[in-house]
């Protein structure tokens, strides 16, 4: 089973984000970066499928040079090789533009399965995997927690809302977007980190893939969110703040 995993490097979860001077994106200088969480679960699912069924795991990502660290992390965890779509204009491409890059980069691989996380932690569009499926002409399913190989293709467990699930059967090749929590994530071993250094990373550019940067949806500006409520912040040390809160809850909000 040949599995492609599309991953994304995103700002680390606790990173302090600042709006850049143009007001169109965040100031990336000095940011720490990490592998997008649901993509980590997609990679884990791929590695476990390979362990069960044999085959190859290829990671693909788009971004500037810095994404190399995330590629190495995926290789250290056990991916066999990587494709790096080298581009520094990811921010000005819309979901279709990014999916076009990924689809063009993996098409010739003729993989049995393409996995990706259900959404990114930075833009949170939750669309890339579904559009990649459309562009590759493959069936897809989203919010998947478990993947099993069956005689005719795949049997997957899909999360529905409010604690419901559903089993879906679909033929391969297929595209799945993976929800977090389906597996336990592995750490890279020392041996894995060492091996990763010798694994193949193929670098391609958007121009080589023949994908232009045209966008039909434009992010015009970013801003701090408007508060929906007036929050009373309770000052002082832990003890003072706690005592003040109990007072407020009893006599002001009257919920205790």
């Amino acid at each position: 089973m040949k599995i492609i995993v599309a991953i994304k490097q995103v700002p680390e979860r606790d990173a302090q984000v600042r709006i850049d001077a143009a007001g169109k994106w965040i100031d990336e200088s000095g940011l720490q970066w990490a592998l997008n969480e649901s993509d980590a679960y997609a990679l884990e699912e791929a590695l476990q499928l390979k362990e069960k069924n044999g085959g190859e795991v290829v990671v693909v990502t788009a971004g500037p040079e810095r994404v190399g660290t995330t590629i190495r992390e995926a290789l250290a965890k056990g991916a066999d090789r990587a494709i790096h779509i080298d581009c520094d204009d990811l921010g000005s491409r819309d979901a279709l533009g990014v999916a076009r890059l990924l689809a063009a980069a993996v098409k010739a691989e003729n993989a049995d399965l393409v996995l990706t996380g259900l959404q990114s932690e930075d833009l949170g569009l939750g669309q890339t995997g579904v559009i990649v499926a459309e562009l590759l002409g493959l069936p897809h399913s989203t919010l998947i927690l478990q993947v099993e190989k069956s005689e005719t293709g795949l049997k997957v467990k899909r999360e529905l809302e409010e604690g419901w699930f559903q089993t879906i059967e679909l033929p391969t090749p297929a595209v799945l977007t993976i929800q977090s929590g389906g597996n336990k994530l592995r750490y890279a071993t020392l041996m894995g980190i060492k091996k990763a250094k010798t694994k193949e990373v193929r670098v391609v550019t958007a121009a080589e893939l023949g994908v232009d940067g045209a966008a039909t949806v434009v992010l015009e500006k970013i801003a701090l969110p408007q508060k929906q409520k007036t929050t009373q912040m309770l000052p002082g040390n832990a003890k003072e703040a706690a005592a003040a809160l109990v007072e407020k809850l009893k006599f002001e909000a009257r919920v205790l």
Partner: protein, 323 residues
């Protein structure tokens, strides 16, 4: 190109609340563009849904009916809606941002050469669509720049379902051409994960814990606070993903929706997926070390501090107050 179309979604035999919110968003967009609003219902038998929708202030209701739409599949819904949109060429199509819409609308948009503006929380003049970025820490303003219909999905709770105006709409039919061979996925019947033993929905007081707790070993500290309050313990998704608490205690879009008298969020940053499950609570308290965390945007009271100091102090204060 004319008209704003709103695609409704059925839940338990009735049109779901989030679909009425999408209607309200569609009416807002319709006013801006000076265009009539049309509702679309899909299925194998849509009479009930159509009658329900026709009682709203809509230009018309379109029943998209086909036996192959009896059960949701992305292939079936995409084929049906593509044909409808190409025939009627609306200026905009609004969807509720449900798991089902997330499954097909991005591909439908791509097939039409468009890009869905997903998870919109506000529509401003232009129209400019606001959605959240960076887990709710920032917002982004998006504009549709292409030719062809503008496709938008709206976040649960962002528009008021009650704002969907009443009226009496004409009902029309549309029969898409769908071939069984086009449908590549075989969906099974929905099932519940595990026996539900906790009903967070009826709890009056909830203490919810998030990633800030760092280790499973630290959970008893939060449990003690819940016990002192007589509250149910709940969690955000990462805690349940890690197996630290059972999935049935999860609050958010993939877990339970709650609206207690008091919701006390400990170490929860407040990603949108969590907020949609609890922002209807009467009183929200947030304890978080990051004063910029989005949870404070919906909180009535906040303590910006180290939860490992604040939570034990709060437990003591509650016990001392004789609650």
């Amino acid at each position: 190109m004319s008209g704003v179309y709103v695609v409704l979604e059925e839940r338990d035999g009735r049109i779901g609340r989030i679909s009425w919110e999408a209607v309200a968003a569609g009416q807002r967009l319709g006013e801006q563009l000076s265009q009539p609003v049309t509702a679309v219902v899909l299925g194998a038998a849509t009479e009930g849904q159509a009658t329900e929708a026709a009682a709203k202030g809509l230009g018309k209701v379109v029943r998209v009916e086909h036996p192959l739409l009896a059960q949701y599949t992305a292939d079936g819904f995409i084929a049906a809606l593509q044909q409808l949109i190409e025939k009627e060429s609306p200026a905009a199509v609004v969807f509720p941002h449900t798991y089902q819409v997330r499954d097909y609308a991005p591909a439908l948009a791509a097939r039409l050469g468009q890009v869905l503006i997903s998870d919109v929380v506000a529509i401003g003049d232009g129209p400019v669509f606001t959605r959240q970025l960076m887990q709710g820490r920032l917002t982004g303003s998006y504009r549709h720049a292409g030719n062809g219909p503008c496709l938008v999905s709206v976040q649960a709770g962002a528009f008021r379902a009650e704002a969907a105006e009443a009226g009496k709409a004409e009902i029309t039919n549309f029969t898409p051409a769908i071939d069984a061979a086009q449908i590549r996925t075989k969906p099974g019947a929905p099932f519940r994960g595990s026996a539900q033993t906790v009903d967070l929905g009826s709890a009056q007081l909830i203490v919810a814990v998030g990633r800030g707790i760092k280790e499973a070993e630290n959970l008893p500290m939060v449990q003690e606070l819940a016990t002192a309050l007589g509250a149910e313990l709940a969690a955000s998704r990462p805690i349940c993903d890690n197996g630290w608490l059972p999935m049935e205690r999860q609050v958010g879009s993939s877990g339970q929706t709650v609206a207690p008298k008091l919701y006390l969020a400990v170490g929860i940053s407040g990603a949108i997926q969590h907020l949609v499950g609890m922002k209807g609570s009467q009183c929200i308290v947030a304890i978080n070390k990051d004063p910029e965390a989005p949870i404070f945007e919906v909180a009535d009271y906040g303590i910006a501090g180290d939860l490992f100091e604040v939570v034990p102090a709060l437990t003591e204060a509650i016990k001392a107050a004789g609650h």
